[in-house]
Subunit: 421 residues, 2 copies
Amino acid sequence: MKDIIIIGGGFAGINLARSLGGNKHYRVTLVDKNNYNFFPPLIYQVATAFLEPSSISYPFRKLFRHKHNLFFRLGELKKVVLEENKVVLSNGELHYDYLVFATGAETNYFGLQNVKKHAIPMKTLHDAIDMRNRLLQQMEQAIITQDEEERRKLLTIVIAGGGPTGVEVSGMLAEMGRSILQKDYPELKGAYGEIYLVDGSEALLSPMSEKSQRNTLEAVRKLGVKTRLNTRVKDYVDDMAILDSGESIPTKSLIWATGITARVFDGIPADSYGRGKRMLTDAFNQVQGTTNIYAIGDTCLQTTDAKFPNGHPQVAQVAIQQGKHLARNFKAMAAGRPPAPFAYHDKGSMAIIGRNKAVADLPPSLHFKGFIAFFLWLFVHLMSLINYRNRLKTLYNWTVAYFSRDQSLRMIIRPDEENLT
Amino acid sequence: MKDIIIIGGGFAGINLARSLGGNKHYRVTLVDKNNYNFFPPLIYQVATAFLEPSSISYPFRKLFRHKHNLFFRLGELKKVVLEENKVVLSNGELHYDYLVFATGAETNYFGLQNVKKHAIPMKTLHDAIDMRNRLLQQMEQAIITQDEEERRKLLTIVIAGGGPTGVEVSGMLAEMGRSILQKDYPELKGAYGEIYLVDGSEALLSPMSEKSQRNTLEAVRKLGVKTRLNTRVKDYVDDMAILDSGESIPTKSLIWATGITARVFDGIPADSYGRGKRMLTDAFNQVQGTTNIYAIGDTCLQTTDAKFPNGHPQVAQVAIQQGKHLARNFKAMAAGRPPAPFAYHDKGSMAIIGRNKAVADLPPSLHFKGFIAFFLWLFVHLMSLINYRNRLKTLYNWTVAYFSRDQSLRMIIRPDEENLT
């Protein structure tokens, strides 16, 4: 039995591991710094208190049960020792025959140190819980303060990045301001802050169709969100989001939903990396300059796919398909058959805006908006949640939230030691 | 309108506040350092990953909606200034006409500094999440270590305190060791640790009937829990729980579920406190030596109730009844009628052991055990959960957990900065 070590249990890693479950040629160990897989497309709903963390996450060990060749190891990759075929983790070492990087991407602050220090990222489950706690605490402070200027800063939210996450968060927060906050914070007497959505390109959801972009812009503005297109946040100083247009917006909440970057690992040759620190691979996802190392998902830059000469978009569908594809290739190799090159099948994209609007593009040229797109979105996301129980819970949460225009997860749960200010 | 300030939103505070909801004589502000009420009898289920934190907690602001005289303030009490009728909070000041302490009790380490530093408390929702994360991380370490001795320490759990919490936690962990851990951690190959339950008195659940005590001891032992009665933990040094019997148990997990203490507040005269730092009150819950300050629940020591000359037990029922009773007295005072003295009506007590056993004493002399007691326990706790939605979710979680002998909340969700070891 050969040892496959997978670093990272996101879409790519988990699909690779599960597709090899029960295989008699490979023993698969998945290494992750968390003990659970989570579903990134819905972390904005955890951040806005619609869903519980547990509704969109699932322990690896439970996923791997009954598959006797699948193992989980809690740990963080520190170094690869190519000559010895081993990885050094934060808590030990592992030998591999094949090593697979499925390490995804992390928030990119583009070197803006003030932003990195004070903005709210939206990439991990813990980011989402932090955002929830922080926004709720700021509401409480807004009630106490006697300073009008301070209150405005506490209630104003600037979202950098008009991709799906930015659009979804801004829509959700705008809905919340209308329906829930007015009921929960009567002390504010209608003094609610503004929500700004800032994006560097000329449209929201820039990879989507023009039609969907127009629909999205219209829907977001209708919800009261102020948009700033062709504009970037260039600094964040003294509670002031400074835009490159010259405008400055006073806010205590800058949500950073723009830009991601892959990571560089000790032991991997420098010329194995391409644009955005992504690992350059051949058509079989093998990393350039290595013999038994592979990369899949966001961290992989593969330019052999005819339709995507600059590499694939860093989206869930690519990661899922690459994970499953690499599993097939491993099986082929074990059977003495040649591996097949990877080709991405675009299944379309969608985003949800506020309570019951969405946009969806289905290739080659179908566009949906409004309620139909909303149901499409619900269906696709619900089906993608990793197990039945999470689906049921999420459907229940959504149904209650939809009809009650409310959500009840507004608890600030944090370590006791954190002082109140 | 007179101002009532309630410090603390546990059973006592929340029942007082809600009973005054809509009253036209009083404006009520509840101050708490959390923005949610939670249900302490079930935190052991959060700790053992059966329930989500949100299933047993509820935001104050949502509870107070539609009651225009009820307000919530996030903050911590720093000082009372009696002469000025004001409280100084961590984030501002509030004036009161009546001040009510419903501050509950906190974990008592009896001066054992090593225990305070390294043991796992079981009093707050955050304690419960911490315990969950810590036990799960130790399981992961147990798999990695090559050191037999170290593995035994990682897998052994000592629970100090044989009250309901200790009994419930030990039963739950014993069940988990049997059913879940073997499936999730095949690497351990049956090398599971022991669970010890240590109590200073001669029986478990010492305030309950002898019959229930006997049944509990029997049930707990059947689950494989090792009991040490008439024994106390006197120190915790180098991963070694040192008992006063001379025995020492190597363990990385000492769960501290024994002993609580009330708290002393700056500004309240020293002679207003009695045993266990509880505030001495008259029959109307007015604190000795003050004119407009009251204490209810665990923090109150009232010796005027004929059946309880040494004060009431520090249990949920007393807190609930005192909260409601004080509300009636406030209403009486507003109407010019005299207040009534408090008298506690004991509704019985119960505890659950493992998956489907429980004991219940209903006064004057009814005892139940086994399945009937289990259903009684389910019914009473479900009815006590604060709103319908939490009840439904909890019932669902319990049903799934019961039939699947499993629970799925085994995610270690913690700040990214915390390093893995």
